[in-house]
Subunit: 122 residues, 2 copies
């Protein structure tokens, strides 16, 4: 029975065997996914990462993170996935500040239960 | 005047010239920084990323993100810098939930200015 080459083997124009360690992560119908990962890390480095992990779930999670990093680098050539980290960090700071503000309002209400309620709305 | 080889040239046992594009990012006294980046991306891919960016500030930012990703991959072999993204995402969700809870308490106080104040402390 003929075997459909994975995107990695197809791109490298080589025969894809049942031993191909990249096949589970790069299906033939998603060539872009492999191209981004190949471009950023190279096949050798990806295989090395896989070789160093014994657990199948860990291999799968590692490849998901590798593919994510590659896709982010394609989208953001300067910052790669640090773009996501910066965004999340910024959102967290904004939300923490908002929480602090609301806690201050709450404290005011607790301290002045009968006071006229100022409008703290932002 | 003799030039001190950068960590990249030292590691590759080659002469470091004033044209070395990696020298600004890999000082001789920080060999680990280069080893991690070399291990994850390889010299060729790093040089390619630098070649594709024209602006010096962008090159510098790109190398900072590359070095960060490499260091994170060394620290977290399975998730790399996705570990940071997951952590920040989780913290953001917790903080947003806390904000939502405190806003609900505040709304209660506004709606019931003379009520006995329940203890919402978590």
């Amino acid at each position: 029975m003929s075997r459909v080459s994975c995107a990695a083997c197809k791109y490298q124009r080589r025969k894809c065997t049942s031993e191909c360690v990249l096949a589970p992560y790069f299906p033939a119908n998603q060539p872009k996914k492999f191209q981004n990962a190949h471009r950023l890390f190279g096949v050798r480095n990806m295989v090395k990462i896989l070789d160093e992990l014994k657990d199948e779930d860990q291999k799968s999670d590692a490849m998901k993170s590798i593919i994510f990093e590659s896709d982010m680098r394609e989208k953001f050539p300067v910052y790669g996935c640090v773009e996501c980290i910066s965004y999340l960090h910024q959102q967290l700071q904004i939300t923490l500040q908002e929480l602090q503000d609301v806690l201050s309002q709450l404290e005011f209400y607790r301290q002045h239960p009968t006071a006229t309620y100022p409008n703290f709305d932002r």
